[in-house]
Subunit: 92 residues, 14 copies
């Protein structure tokens, strides 16, 4: 249970936790937006284009928070500076 | 309880946790979207095509957050760099 | 309490947790979708076919998140690479 | 408190937890669906057949998530590969 | 605090937890269904028979999730294979 | 703190927990059903008999989940096979 | 901290926990029922008798879950078989 | 930290916890009942007597769950058989 | 960390916890009652007297659960039999 | 870490916790009452006096639960009998 | 880790916790009151003065619970009798 | 891990926790107030001035609870009497 | 695990926690305000300017609570007096 | 488990936690705003431009809280002063 073990273990757990929790808000937020878009299209079918466009721009923005979490998660798995340091030191 | 045991144990738990929590938001968000789509089709049966198309594009986007969690989960099980390092070192 | 015990124990717990939590969102999301479908059929009985078709496609998509959790759970029980490694090593 | 004790103990707890949590979402989701079906039948008594059919197909789908949890729970009690390995090894 | 003590202790706790948590969703789901049925009977007294029949079939299905939990709970108390193994071994 | 102490302690706690948590859902579910029944009687006083009959059958079914919890609780207190085994062994 | 201390301590805590948690659902369920009864009496003052009768029967049924918790709590305090065993053994 | 200390400590904590949690549901349930009663009196001022009577009977019934918690709490403080046993034994 | 320290410490914490949690339900319940009373007075200003009277009797009843918690809290601080016993014994 | 340290430490924490949690319910309850009062004044500006009077009496009653928590908190800081005993004993 | 360290540490944490939690209810309660006041002014602009006056008196009362928490927090930081005692004793 | 380490560590954590939790209620309360103000302006555009003035006074009051938390947080970081004492003593 | 390690570790965690939790309330509060603003603009398009102005002033105020959290977080990372003290002492 | 291990481990976990929790509020807040915007466009299609502009400015502001969390997360991974200090010291 040296530094490599500790940092590796925590990185695995953190990456998973980050993606898991980071997807909840995003998915529910997009669900709310899609819900409103679908009700609005039913109310104003003539403006489907404008509504769909707004929906997708909004969803892209909401998706961005899940992307941030994915990015942090990927950095922790594949480009983790703490891990790099630890294995460099252990290898030296 | 060396590094292999620790990292393996945490990877198993993290992969499961990530998929488990990552599916909650996604499923509920899609449920909300489907709910709105079905109510809207009942309200405007003539626009079923447009509503269904919007629903499926939105659902694909919402599903993407569950996919991210699945990807992180699979990486942790089958392409885990921390585990690779640990077994390489143990095997050397 | 060697590596085999640890990894086995955590795999059992993780598989159960993954399926347990992964089914909550899915079941509630499908419940919401079914609720809307039934109310919509009552409102527009003439479009039962379109509504039912949309419901089942949506439910299949929502069910997919529970399937992901089931898949991760099965992998952890029957094709767990960490466990394979541990018993191979113990058997060697 | 050897491996048999540990894996047995965790399997018992996991099987119970899996079934317990896995039944919550399913039961509430079916309750929502049944609620909507009953209100819809009251609104459109002439379409009781279509509504009931849709309800039961939907409920079967929602029930499936509880069945998944039950299956995982049963596997952990009666066909647990980790337990098989541990008692085989202990018996050898 | 040998294996018998551990597995016995965990079995008792798991059986109780399984039944306790497993009954929450079921009871609330049935409450929702009953609520809708009673409101619907008040709205359409002439279809009491159809409504009651649908209610009881739905309730039976919802009750099934509590039954699953009860079954798992009973198995853990009276037909627990882990306990059988432990006392067989201790008695041998 | 031998096996008798452990199993006795956990049995006491589990029996109490099981009854405590198992009564929440049941009581709230019955409250929802009673609420709907009373509002329905006020709406359709002429069908009080049908409503009350449906209410009591539904309540009996909801109560059954609390009864299951009570049964498990009583089994754990008065017919606990793990405790029987432990005291038999201690007395032998 | 022998068996008497342990079982006594856990019995005290369990009895209190059981009554505390067991009263929440019951009180809220009865509150919902009373709420509906009062609104219904205001709506149909001529059927006060029928409403009050239904209310009290329903409340008795809801109260029963709190009574179960009270019974378990009293058994744990005054007729606890685990405690009887422990003090009999200690006194022997 | 002998048995007297342990049982005394747990009794104090349990009595407080029991009363604290046991009062939440009761107070909120009574609040809901009072809310409905006041709205009903405003709607049907001519039936204030019947409404008030029903309110107080219902409140007494809801209050009973808090009373149960108070009784358990008082028993644990002033008539605790586990404590009696412990101090009798210590005094002997 | 003898019995006096333990029981004193737990009594302080329990008294505070009991009052803290015991006041939540009561305050919210009274808030709901007051809310309904004020809306009702605005609706039926001519019956302010009857409404206010009912409000205060109801509030007194709701307040009683906070009073119970206060009483338990005061008993634990100023008339705690476990503390009396401990200091008597320590002083003897 | 003698009795003085323990009891002092717990008293500080308990006093803070008691005031912190004890203020939540009270503040929200008063907020609900104020909300209703303001909406009622807007609805019946001619009865502002009666409404304001009822509001303030109700708020005083709700405030009382926060006052109880404050009193317990102050007693624990400035008139704590457990602390008095501990420092008297330490000083003797 | 003597008494000074312990009591100092706990005082810091308690003061922060007390203010943090104590501000939640107060801020939300005031938000509800302000919400109602603004809607009421929009409904009855001619009575802005009466509404604003009632709002500020109510807010002052709700604010008082946050003030209590602030006072307890300040006492724990700047006039903490437990700390005074500890440093006096350490200094003597 | 002497007193300086302990008190410093706890001060850092407490200051962060205090600001973090203390901002939740405040931000949501202001959100509710702003929501009502904007809806009211849309309803009564002629009274924008009065509404905005009331909004800002109310928001200032709600903001005050976040300010209290900020003040406590700043005191704990920059004017912490417990820290002053500890470093004075360590420096002496 | 000396003071530097402890204070550094806690500062990192506290800064992250503070920003994480501090952003929840703020984002949701702004979401509520934006929601109301957009609905109001749709209702009164002629007053878009006044509504937008009020929205942005309100949002700035709500944002301020997130800013406070960011400030505390930055102070803990870059101007942490506890850390300064610890490294000064360690360097001396 | 020296300072490098500790600070590295905590930094990894904190960065992940910060991004994970920091994205929840933001995503839900943007979802609410998008929901309102889409409903408003359906209500006033002629003002799509004004609504979309307001939506995007509001979303940018809400997104800012997620950006703050991302910034703190990135600082902790790539410009962490505590880590710099620790590795400098370890390297010296």
């Amino acid at each position: 249970m040296d530094n490599i073990g500790l940092i590796g273990m925590v990185s695995v757990f953190s990456a998973a936790l980050c993606m898991a929790i980071g997807s909840i808000g995003s998915a529910i937020g997009e669900g709310l937006a899609a819900m409103a878009a679908l009700r609005s299209i039913a109310q104003q079918p003539d403006h489907t284009a404008a509504l769909t466009r707004t929906l997708f721009v909004a969803m892209a923005m909401i998706e961005s928070t899940a992307i941030y979490a994915l990015v942090v998660s990927m950095i922790l798995i594949f480009a983790n500076p703490f891990w790099q340091y630890a294995i460099t030191k252990a290898g030296g």
